[in-house]
Structures are given as structure tokens and as C-alpha cells.
């Protein structure tokens, strides 16, 4: 098992298809950026649907949006932003070869991810008791219940898809934390941490769009 002190050269991490670690690093980073581009378009389909129905059924969408819990949503926004900050520090720590620091920061990021998911769970439960979950005891007092339900479909689809991404991110962070503790990211092999960081920031940014669109729409 390579540790901090073992004499591992950078070349040990280089795949046979690459000439050197620099090429490998660039390739991995570019690959992640392109993957994120596909993710943007993946969410883009849902954003498009939301926008169109928002224009068509503006009234009821605003009313439905008011029933969502802005406090939980806002707290979650803060939680994710802080986690992104920790992630940025983690990337720095991996570059500086700080093993303990890196492990701690990755665990911190994962923990904040878990906090986000827990709050999300609380919020989903609250939605359930408020009869806002479509097809599961959905009740709507105001006009046009059908399109109010449509709003909550879109809300659950978008936040659900985002939650899946957060869960995957937490898994990645935990695995990376374990590997970091084992010293796998020493000696300039900080590539994996860096591209995982790109992914985490992306998940954060998606939420930064979801929050105003779903929670704050029409608030005056």
C-alpha cells in the first residue's frame, strides 16, 4: 500500500494510453467538462417544460409555489454553497498533498450533502402531510387543481433528479475520503479530486437555478 513516504513516482498513475500525467490530467478534466455539458442539457429539458407551463398556467404555478417551504429551501441553498466551498478547499489540499486535511474536507463535503438530503427528506414529508404529493392524497383547495398538480410533478421531478445527483455525489465523496486517507492522492495525483470537485460544483449550481424557479417564483 503506497503511503505518503513511499517512493511512488507520478508515472505509476498514468494509464498506458497516455504519454505522461499532464496529458492524463487534461484529458480527464476535459472529459468531465463535456459530461457536465450533457448534464446541462439533461436538466435543460425539464427547465424547458417548466418554462412553457409557467407561461401557460402562470397563476396557479405562482400559487402552488407559495406552498413550498422557503425556509428549508433557503437553508439547503446555504448548505450546498458551504459544501462547495469545502470542496474547493479539498481540491487545494490535494494539490498541496495535505492528506488529513483532504480527508477531513471531503468528509465535510459529504456530511453537508447528507444534511441537504435530510432537510430534503423533512421537506418531502411535510409536502406529504400538506397533501402536495401528486397521486398520494393530493388535495388542492384553490382553482385549477389539475395544473397545480402539474406544478408539483415538475417540482418533484426536478428536485428528485437533483437529489439523485447529490446522492451520487455523496457516494463519490465518501469513496474519495477513504482513498485520501489511504494516501492514494499523494504526489501530484490530485486529478480525481479535481474532477469530482467539478461535478460537485455543478450539482450546487443546478440547485442555485432550481431554488428561485420553484420556491421564489412570484414572491413580491
Amino acid at each position: 500500500m503506497p503511503t505518503l513516504t513511499s517512493p511512488v513516482s507520478e508515472d505509476a498513475f498514468v494509464g498506458q494510453q497516455f504519454d505522461d500525467i499532464e496529458q492524463q490530467r487534461d484529458a480527464a478534466k476535459l472529459g468531465m467538462w463535456i459530461f457536465l455539458a450533457t448534464e446541462v442539457l439533461f436538466f435543460g429539458g425539464l427547465f424547458l417544460g417548466y418554462t412553457i407551463y409557467r407561461f401557460t398556467y402562470g397563476h396557479v404555478f405562482v400559487e402552488a409555489s407559495h406552498k413550498l417551504d422557503v425556509v428549508i429551501g433557503g437553508t439547503n441553498t446555504a448548505v450546498l454553497l458551504v459544501s462547495s466551498l469545502l470542496m474547493a478547499f479539498a481540491v487545494r489540499a490535494s494539490k498541496l498533498d495535505q492528506r488529513r486535511m483532504l480527508t477531513g474536507l471531503l468528509l465535510g463535503t459529504a456530511l453537508l450533502g447528507c444534511v441537504f438530503m435530510s432537510l430534503k427528506g423533512v421537506e418531502y414529508h411535510k409536502d406529504y402531510t400538506d397533501h402536495l404529493v401528486p397521486r398520494m392524497g393530493f388535495k388542492w383547495e384553490g382553482a385549477d387543481p389539475g395544473n397545480a398538480e402539474l406544478f408539483y410533478w415538475i417540482y418533484f421531478a426536478m428536485t428528485g433528479l437533483h437529489a439523485i445527483h447529490v446522492t451520487v455525489g455523496i457516494g463519490i465523496m465518501l469513496v474519495l475520503a477513504l482513498l485520501a486517507w489511504l494516501g492514494k492522492f499523494s504526489r501530484g495525483n490530485h486529478n480525481t479530486v479535481e474532477i469530482a470537485g467539478l461535478y460537485w460544483h455543478f450539482v450546487d449550481i443546478v440547485w442555485c437555478f432550481l431554488f428561485p424557479l420553484l420556491y421564489l417564483v412570484g414572491h413580491r
Binding site: T56, G58, H59, A143, D144
Partner: protein, 314 residues
């Protein structure tokens, strides 16, 4: 040789315009095929392996030649676009003073009703040299109303009204197809359009069982289904009056404006809460599921009829 027919009959004013464009496109295509295929054949023979042709100083490109075959086709295609857009504009713009026919598509038949009330299934009788305009919708999936001899086609979409018009120029019987795949018996959702002399058409219209006109049917529905209970000057509920409404701009509760066209009226019957008229409470119940597509069309025809009347003073 009749079975090798190359073109469908030209039986409407539109068909001549579309065919002219089609022939022009065919000529242009033949020109480009000649421009591409003749040199290929020529080069293939002249520069075949082992031939003694001169191969010195082969060119690997020239800015001017490349620009030429970029810009030339570009202008040509812009010209073609302009022409085709003009014809399309005429196909899409519904002329005034047309005979009105209402069409409802369903799996797998066409239900049509003339303004005079006469109903048909999978058949459409129209007079020659007269403009016929149709308002269409579907009660299930998307269909498409297609009469090849008239060169017209329009998807028939559930939840919205689409229109199509034509002016037949030759009497006869022509195919009516559903062009949008709509399920198992899609290929049996076919019928015929019968173009008749005006006198024969009048005779046909009066033949058979007499039925009430679309507007009368709409008026009857307006009373039977309770619309008039609220939408009348002496109603105890505060509901807007519908006389003089059709095609007029209408202020909505959210501050925007809407035009009281067919689509708006349809939505107001089925989803009253979607667009509320300014100054009125949101109290109208939805009639979704209580009215058939034909009945909604009849109601709208009635609203259109009273759309020219002055609103009565309360």
C-alpha cells in the same frame, strides 16, 4: 399506362401553385445532378488508372471556386425559400367568406358537420369553385387531414383548433387520408372528398334527414346545459355577457389581454380558471367531460353568431 401515373390530379387552386414550385425544384435538382454527375463520369473515364491524361499540377483548392459554390447555392436557396414561403402563407391564411365545415377526428374516423347541420362520416361533399374552410380538432390522438388532390394537409391536434381551407376547381371524387400515424387502423382512417356542381351540392345538402343548423344546435346547448343561467343580463351570478364578445380583445384578471377567439372560448369552457376575465370571480365550473368536441364546436359557433350583436344592457 394509367397505373404508372406520376402526378396526383390537380383539383384545387393550391394544387397549381404547389406543383409549379415542385416542377421548379425538380428542374433545379436535375441541374445540380448534371453539374455533379457529368463531371464525375467524365473524370472517371479521363483519369482512370493507367490513362495517359495529364495529371501535372493537381489543384488542392481555390478560394474563389469554393466561395462560388458556397454563395451561389446560398442565394438560390434563399430565392426558393421566398417563393415557397409565399405559397405557404396563402395555404395557411384562411380566406373570409368561406363555407364552414367542422371536423372532429377520432380513432379511426372523420366526423364532419356542415354549417347547415348536415353530418357526414369519412366523406366530405363540397361545391366546386367555392372556398371551403374547416375547423378541426381531435378527441383522442393527433390525426392529419390530407387531401392529395388539393395539396393540403394539416395535423388535427387534440386540445386545440387547427384550420385548413381549399377551393376545389374540378368536380370528382378524391382521396381523403389520415397522414399522422394514429394507431392500429390508421390506414383505414380514409375517406373521399366529393366535389360537386353547386346545384347538385344544394340538392345533396337538403336530402336525407333534416337536422338543425350548427348555430341553432349551439343555442339549444347554451340553454340546456345551463350556460344561459349565469351568462345572461338577469342572472343572480356575476358572469360576463357573451354577446359581442367573439374576436374582441379582452382584459384578464392578471392584467394581460386575450383575444376571444375559438381557442380562448374552448379553454374557457373546459378550463375556466386558466384565464379569468378582469372584474369577474372565478366561479365557473369546468365542462370538461360533460361536452363532446362536436358540442363545444357548436357552442362556439353560437357564440360567434351572437358575437356580432350588441351586448344587452343589464
Amino acid at each position: 399506362m394509367d397505373q404508372f401515373r406520376l402526378f396526383p390530379p390537380q383539383a384545387s387552386t393550391t394544387s397549381h401553385e404547389v406543383d409549379a414550385l415542385f416542377f421548379a425544384l425538380t428542374l433545379i435538382s436535375l441541374f445540380f445532378m448534371a453539374v455533379i454527375f457529368l463531371p464525375i463520369i467524365f473524370f472517371s473515364v479521363k483519369y482512370r488508372r493507367g490513362s495517359s491524361a495529364d495529371r501535372s499540377n493537381p489543384s488542392s483548392g481555390s478560394f474563389w471556386i469554393e466561395s462560388g459554390w458556397t454563395v451561389g447555392p446560398m442565394f438560390l436557396s434563399l430565392g426558393l425559400f421566398a417563393w415557397s414561403a409565399l405559397v405557404y402563407f396563402r395555404i395557411e391564411r384562411r380566406p373570409a367568406n368561406a363555407i364552414e365545415v367542422q371536423v372532429v377526428g377520432k380513432q379511426w374516423m372523420w366526423k364532419l358537420q356542415h354549417a347547415e347541420g348536415k353530418r357526414e362520416i369519412n366523406e366530405l361533399h363540397v361545391p366546386v369553385n367555392t372556398t371551403v374552410a374547416m375547423t378541426m380538432t381531435s378527441q383522442d390522438v393527433i390525426h392529419s387531414f390530407f387531401v392529395p388532390a388539393f395539396r393540403v394537409k394539416q395535423d388535427v391536434v387534440p386540445g386545440r383548433y387547427t384550420g385548413i381551407w381549399f377551393k376545389a376547381t374540378r368536380t370528382g371524387e378524391y382521396h381523403l387520408f389520415c397522414a399522422q400515424y394514429c394507431g392500429t387502423q390508421h390506414s383505414q382512417m380514409v375517406g373521399r372528398v366529393v366535389v360537386m356542381e353547386p346545384t347538385a351540392y344544394e340538392r345533396w345538402l337538403k336530402s336525407g334527414e333534416l337536422s338543425e343548423s350548427v348555430v341553432l344546435a349551439g343555442e339549444r346547448l347554451f340553454h340546456d346545459r345551463g350556460c344561459s343561467g349565469c351568462h345572461s343580463p338577469n342572472s343572480q351570478f356575476h358572469a360576463p355577457l357573451l354577446q359581442g364578445l367573439y374576436r374582441k380583445p379582452l382584459p384578464l384578471a392578471d392584467g394581460t389581454m386575450a383575444k376571444a377567439d375559438d381557442q380562448y372560448l374552448r379553454d374557457s369552457i373546459l378550463q375556466p380558471a386558466k384565464q379569468i376575465t378582469a372584474g369577474y370571480p372565478n366561479i365557473m365550473p369546468s365542462f370538461a367531460g360533460h361536452l363532446s368536441e362536436e358540442e363545444i364546436m357548436q357552442l362556439i359557433a353560437y357564440l360567434k353568431y351572437i358575437g356580432d350583436q350588441a351586448p344587452p344592457s343589464p
